[in-house]
Every structure is written in structure tokens, then in C-alpha cells.
């Protein structure tokens, strides 16, 4: 009996030692030499593996960042400046601060403004729906409402509003990784500057049809009328392909365009006070009136000057004639 126990112990011990040796040798033989900084960088990453940086995941980003000569092309939008400064300190690089961004849905075709004209019946995915046809509303540019963006968001920052049928961005959770912008087959979601205290303005429509067609499809479509561009005193709005676009780097958040937009396609977010449209309109009209008066005065002055200039030679002529 005791002999059996001794044999058992002996065999298992020897077996264990032999196998341990084999494991050790194999580990030595197939050892991969890796820059230890990759692990360090990966540790400070958010670890969401969202791909927002353009790499397959946080590990891939870390590898690329370690290899790269600087951090110009490697930026983690999720971690933002905080994480990037840590990465920079590990690698001894300098980091360029980037202004925080946020995802913005550029469609305000609510169920009410943009009624359904047919029923979609198929796999509930925007991608499938978009490949089939223009959508179940009259607008062929607007949100399809199947929530591919919601499914693409790894941070739970997007949700479908059951009342409007449109996706809503939770600014607190949005990390501007850009997954939703790629998921939307209509390219409705844009990453925009978050703006001072989160205040920003944007045109919430992508309908490139001509005014009447756009208006027919959706009551709150941008009809490309160009009033906003004419109103803007900062040169921040361009109208191209029947659609207005506000350049966030030029916009001064004066909200004048919003007040003037006939369809309400221009949205403003996080402003402390609601927009007093009439006051702003009055202000604009006052300014335009003054501008017109000024222009008229100037024109009159110019005319007078021109007339005066024209008159002089006549006088001269007269004189010469005389």
C-alpha cells in the first residue's frame, strides 16, 4: 500500500518536472520580443477597442503609437487629451491638444414633419433598407430610423427617440469615436466641435432636393433658400447642392440664422436661454434696414460724387467751349 503511494508521488513529481522543463524550453524558444512600452501605453488606453482612432483596437493603437515618430497621426478620440497626454509622457512625445468633438445627427425629419408614405418590411437595418430603396418617407436623404448608429455605438451614447423616430446623442457618453458616422448609410451623423460650454449650431438636414421637393417630403427640411447665408455676418454658412452647412470654426453662435430659417432646420444646443426669435429677427431687420439706409446713403453719396465728377468735366467743357 505504502509502496503504491510512494510510486505515485515519485512518478507525478518526475512527470511534473519534465513537463515544466518542456514548457520552459518552448517558452524560451518562441519568445516574442516586444517593446514593453506597448503594454504601458495599452494600460492607459480606455480599452473600448472601438476603432475610433483608425486602428483595430487599443492594442493596435499602442503598437502604432510606439512605432510612430510622433503622435500627429495617432489620436484617441475616446480618451481625449487626458489619455493622450499620458501616452505622450510614456513615449516622450509631444501631443497636440484637440478640441473636444461630439456626434451630431443632421436630420430633424420627425414622424410628424416627415410622414411615412410606405411600410418597410425587411431586416430592420438601415444598411439593408438603404440598399433597397430611398426609404419609407418622401425624403431620400433622411434618417431611416432602424438604428444602425445605435447598434454601432459602443458607449451607449445613442438611442432612438420613439416619438420622433430619430436617434438622440447623449453628449455625456459620446466619445466622438466616429463609429456611428461610418454606420449611417445616409452619412447623417457628423463629428462637430463641442463648442464653448457645449453650445453649437448646425443645419439638421441633408436633403439635396430642390426647395419645393424637399419641403413636400419634410416640413422641417432645409430648402436651400439661402436666407441663413445672407443673414450670417461671419461668413460661416455656405449653401451647396440645395443644402446649407454651418462651418463650426467660423460660427460665432449668434443664432441669427436659426431665427431666420423658415423651416426650423437650423438647430442650436445647450444655449442657456431659449431663442427669442422675434427679438433677433427685429435686430436683424433693424441692422439690415440700417445697412440698407447706409448703403442707400452711400449709393446716394457715390452717385452724387459721380454726378459731381461727371458734372465737372461738363463745366470744364463749357469753359473750354467758352
Amino acid at each position: 500500500m505504502s509502496q503504491t503511494i510512494i510510486w505515485t508521488i515519485a512518478i507525478i513529481t518526475v512527470l511534473g518536472l519534465v513537463l515544466a522543463l518542456v514548457l520552459y524550453l518552448v517558452a524560451e524558444k518562441f519568445k516574442v520580443v516586444e517593446d514593453p512600452r506597448i503594454d504601458e501605453v495599452e494600460k492607459v488606453m480606455p480599452g473600448a477597442n472601438c476603432g475610433g482612432c483608425g486602428f483595430a483596437g487599443c492594442r493596435a493603437f499602442a503598437e502604432a503609437a510606439v512605432k510612430a515618430p510622433n503622435l500627429d497621426n495617432n489620436y484617441c478620440p475616446v480618451g481625449g487629451n487626458e489619455v493622450m497626454s499620458k501616452v505622450a509622457s510614456i513615449l516622450g512625445y509631444e501631443v497636440k491638444e484637440k478640441a473636444p468633438m461630439v456626434a451630431v445627427v443632421r436630420c430633424n425629419g420627425t414622424c410628424e414633419a416627415r410622414p411615412k408614405i410606405n411600410d418597410y418590411e425587411g431586416y430592420p437595418s438601415c444598411k439593408v433598407k438603404a440598399s433597397l430603396y430611398s426609404g419609407d418617407t418622401g425624403c431620400s436623404f433622411g434618417c431611416l430610423g432602424c438604428g444602425d448608429c445605435v447598434a454601432a455605438c459602443k458607449f451607449g451614447a445613442l438611442s432612438m427617440d420613439p416619438v420622433t423616430g430619430l436617434p438622440v446623442v447623449d453628449e455625456e457618453k459620446c466619445t466622438a469615436c466616429g463609429a456611428c458616422t461610418k454606420a449611417c448609410p445616409k452619412s447623417l451623423i457628423e463629428l462637430r466641435l463641442k463648442g464653448p460650454r457645449g453650445m453649437r449650431m448646425y443645419v439638421s438636414c441633408r436633403n439635396q432636393d430642390k426647395g419645393p421637393a424637399a419641403k413636400k417630403a419634410c416640413a422641417s427640411a432645409c430648402i436651400g433658400c439661402g436666407i441663413c447665408a445672407k443673414t450670417c455676418t461671419h461668413d460661416a454658412i455656405v449653401v451647396e447642392n440645395n443644402i446649407a452647412y454651418i462651418d463650426p470654426s467660423k460660427c460665432k453662435l449668434c443664432r441669427e440664422c436659426e431665427a431666420m430659417c423658415p423651416t426650423g432646420a437650423i438647430h442650436s444646443v445647450n444655449f442657456p436661454k431659449p431663442l427669442d426669435k422675434d427679438a433677433v429677427k427685429a435686430r436683424i431687420q433693424e441692422r439690415q434696414k440700417r445697412a440698407r439706409e447706409k448703403a442707400a446713403a452711400e449709393a446716394a453719396a457715390a452717385k452724387a460724387a459721380a454726378e459731381a465728377a461727371a458734372a465737372k468735366p461738363v463745366e470744364n467743357n463749357v469753359k473750354e467751349e467758352n
Binding site: N118, D119, Y120, E121, G122, V128, D136
Partner: protein
């Protein structure tokens, strides 16, 4: 005119649904159910009722209250599991044993994997095997039925059990069979001990033919099980008829027909391709005979199916349909 519907093609659908397929299987099982009730009487009816009711109820409770999803009992698959489980135990089994089997089949073998379509093992077989290892006496013991026609009850082991016991005591197959008075006609038309569903091979085969005619299943799995069992046992029997039972005996006893026609052909737990099905069947047939001849349990269909279930993903990977225009 209301709003038009727009959807990707195709715009029509075959008149077939999960529910209709499952209902066909239930219809195919009816002859066997009726036979077993006729032979074994109200006790069998009670087992069937307990088994089906508990399977359906369990699935309903688990889907609605544990998984918080819409209930899936409408697809009728739980009913099939219930019927198969009841047909797979002797009619003398107490009802609470069957209930435990149903709990294991539905709660453990089916729903923990995610419900219909996700389970690796056939729920009814898993429940049956669970009972076989937990309550071996109930599962291999058998009483001559009073049936609806009422004769005196005689207690005894199932044919395979009897042979196993006899062999252990040193008898030869022929002696045992002669002493017990087993005849093939009895096996084919009922009257031999075992699980209640085995009572009438013809009823089971009728159901199988119905499934084939309705194109619910393909015959390859079943046929390859039969062929393998016959061939393997023929070889052994040819070598030593005193030690090994003959092919016909093997085909007609121990729930082989029930297993081959209704349990091995379960969509979820069998390979998809025809050749995969053949390999699957060969595996089941071979393992069945091996377990019967050399294992410690008298019968092996359930174990064989369960073991081969585990190989299905591998078989599916290895045996694919030939793709058009590719080598």
C-alpha cells in the same frame, strides 16, 4: 388603398414554418403514442400527460420569466420533447421521475444553451440519459402490461437487460432468448418489454414513412444507423453467436427504431448535409452496438446519439455541400 409595403425580395414564402414541421413530427409520433397507450393503459397516458405538460410549462416559465423574452412554446418543439421523453421510459416509471427528466431536458439541455436551435444535445435524449444514470432500476425494469385488455402483471427486465444479466451469469444468447420466449414477431408488433415507445416497431416506422413523405426529414441518418447496426452486429454474431446477439434482435429492441427515426433525426442536433448525416448515423450505429456488447449498460442508443450530438459541429464543418462551379 393603404400604404404600399416595400421589402427586399423574395416576396413569397413556402408554406412551411417551424410550427408546421414540428406539428408533422407530432403527427408522426401519434401511432406510437396510441399503441403505447393501448398496450400500457392509463399509466402510460399519465406519463405522457405529465411529460408534455411539464416540458411545455417549463419552457414557458423559463422564456417568460428567466430570459424575459416572448414565449417560444408556440413552435411545438417542447411538446415533441415531452412525448419523446415519455415514450423513452418504461411505463412503470413513477410520474415524478418523468417530471425530473423533463426538468433536465428542458431547463438544462435546451434552455441553458439558449432554447430551440442552440442546444447541442437532443433534450429528450439528455433527459432520458439523466434518468438512466440517476434511476437505473426504474429505467431498465419492466412489467408485463395489463394494458387496456387487462392481464396479470409479470415483472422482469427488458430483453437487452435480460441478455446482459444472463451473459454475466454465464449463459449463452440462444439459451436466454429461448428461456424468455422472445420472438421477432413480438418485437415487431409489441408485447416485449422496454421503453413504452418501443412497444410497436411498425407504428414507429409508419410515423417515419409519414415524415419522409411530408419531406420533413431525409432518410439518410436513419438508414445509415440501421445499416451500421445490422452490419456491425452481423460481424460479431457471425464470429460468436453464443456471446453476441443477432442483427435482427439488435434492430428491433432497445429503442433503436425510436432513436433512429425520431431522435437522431432532430434538426437541431444532427448534421445538415446528406453525407454528414450518413457519417453521423454510422457513428451512432457503431457506438450503439459497441455499448450493447461491451458496455456495462444493457442498451446504448441514447448514449450513442448523445455522443454523436457532440460531434455534429465537427461533422458540419467537414461535410459541406458541393458548391456550384467550384472544386
Amino acid at each position: 388603398m393603404s400604404k404600399l409595403t416595400v421589402s427586399p425580395s423574395p416576396h413569397i414564402h413556402a408554406k412551411v414554418s417551424t410550427r408546421s414541421l414540428m406539428t408533422d413530427v407530432i403527427i408522426a409520433l401519434l401511432p406510437a403514442v396510441i399503441c403505447s397507450v393501448v398496450f400500457y393503459g392509463w399509466k402510460e397516458l399519465l406519463l405522457l400527460a405529465v411529460s408534455v405538460a411539464s416540458c411545455v410549462l417549463l419552457e414557458y416559465v423559463i422564456t417568460r420569466y428567466l430570459m424575459r423574452k416572448p414565449s417560444t412554446i408556440g413552435d411545438m418543439s417542447a411538446v415533441i420533447t415531452g412525448i419523446l421523453l415519455a415514450l423513452n421510459v418504461p411505463y412503470t416509471t413513477p410520474w415524478w421521475v418523468v417530471f425530473i427528466g423533463a426538468v433536465f431536458a428542458i431547463a438544462v439541455a435546451k434552455m441553458t444553451f439558449g432554447g430551440l436551435g442552440q442546444n447541442i444535445f437532443n433534450p429528450a435524449i439528455a433527459g432520458r440519459v439523466f434518468l438512466l444514470v440517476s434511476f437505473p432500476t426504474y429505467m431498465t425494469h419492466w412489467e408485463q402490461p395489463k394494458g387496456l385488455f387487462g392481464v396479470d402483471a409479470i415483472s422482469g427486465p427488458t430483453p437487452l437487460g435480460a441478455i446482459k444479466e444472463g451473459l454475466l451469469q454465464g449463459g449463452s444468447v440462444q439459451d436466454i432468448m429461448a428461456s424468455k420466449g422472445y420472438s421477432y414477431a413480438d418485437m415487431l408488433f409489441a408485447n416485449l418489454g422496454g421503453s413504452s415507445g418501443e412497444v410497436c416497431a411498425l407504428a414507429l416506422l409508419a410515423g417515419f414513412v409519414y415524415l419522409l413523405c411530408r419531406r420533413v426529414i431525409k432518410p439518410w441518418i436513419t438508414l445509415s444507423i440501421f445499416a451500421t447496426v445490422a452490419l456491425t452486429s452481423l460481424i460479431f454474431w457471425g464470429i460468436n453467436p453464443a456471446r453476441f446477439t443477432d442483427p435482427l434482435f439488435n434492430l428491433l429492441t432497445g429503442g433503436l427504431i425510436l432513436g433512429a427515426c425520431f431522435m437522431a433525426t432532430d434538426y437541431v442536433t444532427s448534421p445538415m448535409s446528406n453525407w454528414g448525416g450518413v457519417i453521423f448515423g454510422v457513428g451512432i450505429g457503431f457506438l450503439t452496438v459497441m455499448i450493447r456488447y461491451f458496455g456495462s449498460y444493457p442498451e446504448g442508443v441514447s448514449f450513442a446519439i448523445l455522443i454523436m450530438n457532440a460531434f455534429v459541429p465537427l461533422i458540419n464543418m467537414a461535410f459541406k455541400q458541393k458548391k456550384f462551379g467550384r472544386k
